[in-house]
C-alpha cells in the first residue's frame, strides 16, 4: 500500500505537534517530579547507597549503586530519562517558536528560559559523562600531585596558610597553587573558600586541612633542644652517630616482636633508631616514646627525652572536572536574561490590556 505525500506530511505534522505538545511536557515533568519526590526520600534514608553520590559523577556512581541495590536506585535513570525527554520536548517547542518568531517575538523572555533549561540539561549530561570528581587530596606545601585522569597536568602547592579566628575556628584556607601542563606553568592562583581555580573545565578548591607528624623535639643533656625527624642524622659529643630510620605516629609491637604502624594520627609514636658507635659497631632498635628510653640507649649515654611532637600542616584540595561548566554558565545567563525579559514583557502586555497567556 502506497502512502501519498499528503498523508506522510500529515503524519509528520502530527508527530511534530505531539513532540511540541504542552500536555506531553506536563506529563513528562509530572512523571519526573513524582519519581524524584519519592526517590529523594529513598535517598535520604539509604545513605549507604546514596552517600557517595556527591563524590562521583553520575556515570561512575550509578553502575556501582545499581549493582548493590537496583530496587532503590531505579528511579534515578528513570527520572533522568523523563527529564531528557522533557528537554527534547522543550527543544521542539523552542524550534517551533523560532519558526514563528516574527509574530511571537514578545515571547523571547519565556523562550530564553526554555533555552536555558535545555542547555543546563545538556551541560549536566556532558559533565556527568566526561568529567570527574576527586579528592580531597592531601598536599604538603612545596610538593605537587598529578591531576587524576589528566596526566599532562600537575598541581603544585607553593604555600598554605590556614586562617583561624581567636577561638581557633577556621576562617579560610589560603593556598598558593601553580597548575602545570607538561611541566609548564599555565595558571598560578590563590585558592581559598569561594575562590577556586578554574581552568579548562577543572575546578580546584579547598576542602579542609590537617596536620601530619613530622618529627619530635627532644632534650639531650649535652646538646640541649634538638629536632629529630625521619632521616635525621646527629653526631653526639662522644663521637657516636645517631640516625632516625623511621618515625611512626602510631605503632604497636606484634606478637613476634615486629613493629607495625596502626594509623596516621598521633597515638603511640615510635622511632626506629640506628646508633653507630665509635668502635664502628651499630645498634638498631625501636624507641616507643611513651614507654621510656630503651636500655641500650641509656647505657650508651644517649639520654633523649621527648618534649613535644612537631607537626607539618597540609592542605586538602578537591579537584573536579566538569567540561559542561561553560555551557551551564551560558544556560544560567539565558535563564536570568529570560526572566528579566519575561517580567518586562508580562507587564507591557498587561499595560496594553492583553492577557499574558494570549
Amino acid at each position: 500500500m502506497e502512502t501519498s505525500p499528503q498523508t506522510a506530511k500529515t503524519v509528520l505534522l502530527r508527530l511534530w505537534e505531539f513532540l511540541c505538545s504542552l500536555k506531553v511536557a506536563i506529563v513528562l515533568a509530572s512523571a519526573a517530579a513524582l519519581l524524584i519526590m519519592g526517590g529523594s526520600l529513598v535517598m535520604h534514608y539509604n545513605p549507604r547507597i546514596f552517600g557517595g553520590m556527591e563524590q562521583e559523577i553520575m556515570s561512575e556512581w550509578l553502575p556501582g549503586a545499581w549493582s548493590q541495590a537496583p530496587q532503590l536506585v531505579f528511579w534515578v535513570p528513570l527520572s533522568g530519562l523523563c527529564v531528557i525527554l522533557f528537554a527534547i520536548n522543550t527543544l521542539c517547542c523552542l524550534i517551533d517558536w523560532l519558526g514563528k518568531i516574527s509574530t511571537r517575538w514578545r515571547k523571547t523572555g519565556e523562550y530564553l528560559i526554555h533555552t536555558g533549561f535545555i542547555l543546563l540539561t545538556i551541560a549536566y549530561l556532558w559533565g556527568n559523562l566526561a568529567g570527574f570528581r576527586s579528592g580531597p587530596h592531601s598536599i604538603f606545601p612545596g610538593t605537587e600531585i598529578k591531576i587524576p585522569h589528566m596526566p599532562e597536568y600537575t598541581l603544585r602547592l607553593e604555600s598554605f596558610t590556614p586562617q583561624l579566628n581567636p577561638q581557633g575556628r577556621p576562617l579560610d584556607m589560603v593556598n598558593q597553587v601553580s597548575l602545570r601542563q607538561n611541566g609548564k606553568t599555565v595558571r598560578q592562583a590563590e585558592v581559598r573558600i569561594n575562590h577556586p581555580l578554574i581552568h579548562d573545565g577543572l575546578i580546584i578548591l579547598p576542602t579542609s586541612f590537617g596536620q601530619a607528624l613530622q618529627g619530635f623535639r627532644f632534650h639531650l643533656p649535652e646538646q640541649g633542644m634538638i629536632n629529630l625527624a625521619k632521616g635525621s642524622r646527629l653526631t653526639l659529643a662522644n663521637g657516636q652517630i645517631l640516625r632516625i630510620r623511621q618515625l611512626l605516629p602510631d605503632a604497636r609491637r606484634s606478637g613476634r616482636g615486629q613493629v607495625q604502624q596502626v594509623g596516621d594520627r598521633l597515638g603511640n609514636p615510635a622511632m626506629q633508631i640506628v646508633v653507630q658507635k665509635t668502635d664502628n659497631s651499630t645498634w638498631q632498635g625501636w624507641y616507643f616514646l611513651r614507654e621510656g628510653l630503651p636500655t641500650e640507649l641509656s647505657e650508651a649515654g644517649i639520654l633523649l627525652r621527648p618534649i613535644e611532637p612537631i607537626f607539618k600542616t597540609y592542605s586538602l584540595l578537591t579537584i573536579n572536572r566538569d567540561p559542561g561548566d561553560k555551557l551551564a554558565l551560558v544556560g544560567s545567563l539565558c535563564l536570568s536574561i529570560g526572566v528579566i525579559l519575561a517580567f518586562f514583557s508580562f507587564y507591557r502586555k498587561r499595560a496594553r490590556g492583553d492577557r499574558p497567556d494570549v
Binding site: 504542552l22 506536563i26 529523594s40 533549561f117 569561594n194 575562590h195 551551564a328
Partner: protein, 263 residues
C-alpha cells in the same frame, strides 16, 4: 534584635488582621484603610529592623530559622502591599496577613542573636540566593492565599472579595513572578555551589526539592494555557505548590538533615 520592637511589629500585623476581619463583618471601608495603614507601618518598621541587623552583622543576616522566618514575613507583607496598591484587594489581606502572623509568630519566640557567618556563606551569591529564594517563596505564599480565596469565592460569590477574574489574574501574576524570582535563586545557588563545592548541581535533598519546586511552578506557568485547568484547578495547584514550598523550606530543614540546616 529588640524584643519590644519585635512584639510591636507583631501587634501591628495582628491589629491589621483584626481590622480586615472587622471590614469583612461590618462592611466598612474605613477598617480596611486602617488595616492597610498598619501594614504599611509594619513594613516600614520591619524594613528598619532588617536594615539594622544587616548593618550590625555586616552581611545579609538570613542564616537561621528566626532570620528566615522574619525575612519571609517581611517579603510577604511587602508583596501584599504591592498587590493591594495595584489591585485594591482589601479583604484578601485577612488571609495573607493571617499567614504572615504565623510566620512572624514562629520567629518571635526564637533567639534573634546574629551568629558568626560560616566562611562558605561569605559571598554576594549567597545574599542573592537568599533574597530571590524568599521573595519567590513569598509570591508562592501570596498565590496560595489567593488560590484559597478563589475557592472560597467560587462558593460565596461575595462582594467583599475581588471577583473570580481578578483573583485569577493575581494568582497567575504571583505564580509567574514567584517562578521568575525562584529561577534567579536557583541560578545564584548553582553558581555559588560551583565555586564552593565544585559542582553546580547537588543531590542533597534540599537541592533536589528545590528543583521539584522549580519544575512544579514551571508546570503551573504552562498550566494556565490549559482551559480545563484554569480557575479552580489552578487554585488547587497553588495550594499544593505551597505545600511543596513549605516542605522544602521547613520540612527538610527541621525533619531531615541537609546542607541547608535550620536552627
Amino acid at each position: 534584635m529588640s524584643k519590644p520592637l519585635l512584639l510591636l511589629l507583631f501587634a501591628l500585623y495582628l491589629t491589621a488582621t483584626i481590622g480586615y476581619l472587622a471590614h469583612l463583618i461590618c462592611r466598612r471601608t474605613l477598617f480596611a484603610k486602617i488595616a492597610l495603614g498598619l501594614i504599611f507601618s509594619g513594613v516600614l518598621l520591619q524594613t528598619g529592623l532588617l536594615a539594622q541587623r544587616w548593618w550590625v552583622a555586616g552581611y545579609m543576616p538570613v542564616t537561621n530559622l528566626f532570620a528566615t522566618l522574619f525575612f519571609f514575613s517581611w517579603a510577604l507583607a511587602l508583596i501584599y502591599l504591592y498587590f493591594e496598591l495595584r489591585y485594591r484587594i482589601r479583604a484578601t489581606g485577612l488571609f495573607v496577613m493571617l499567614l504572615n502572623l504565623v510566620l512572624l509568630g514562629g520567629a518571635v519566640p526564637r533567639d534573634s542573636t546574629i551568629s558568626a557567618l560560616i566562611p562558605s556563606l561569605d559571598t554576594p551569591l549567597f545574599s542573592l540566593h537568599i533574597l530571590f529564594s524568599f521573595t519567590g517563596y513569598a509570591f508562592f505564599a501570596m498565590a496560595f492565599s489567593i488560590g484559597a480565596l478563589y475557592l472560597v469565592q467560587t462558593r460565596l460569590q461575595t462582594e467583599m472579595l475581588p471577583d473570580l477574574s481578578t483573583l485569577r489574574r493575581i494568582n497567575e501574576e504571583a505564580i509567574f513572578l514567584g517562578f521568575g524570582l525562584f529561577t534567579l535563586c536557583m541560578v545564584a545557588g548553582s553558581l555559588w555551589a560551583h565555586i564552593a563545592w565544585g559542582h553546580w548541581f547537588s543531590w542533597n535533598i534540599k537541592s533536589v526539592w528545590s528543583i521539584l519546586v522549580w519544575i512544579f511552578y514551571a508546570g503551573m506557568c504552562h498550566a494556565k494555557f490549559i482551559r480545563r485547568w484554569q480557575g479552580s484547578v489552578y487554585a488547587w495547584l497553588s495550594i499544593v505548590g505551597f505545600g511543596i514550598v513549605l516542605f522544602t523550606y521547613l520540612g527538610i530543614g527541621l525533619l531531615l538533615e541537609s546542607n541547608h540546616p535550620l536552627e
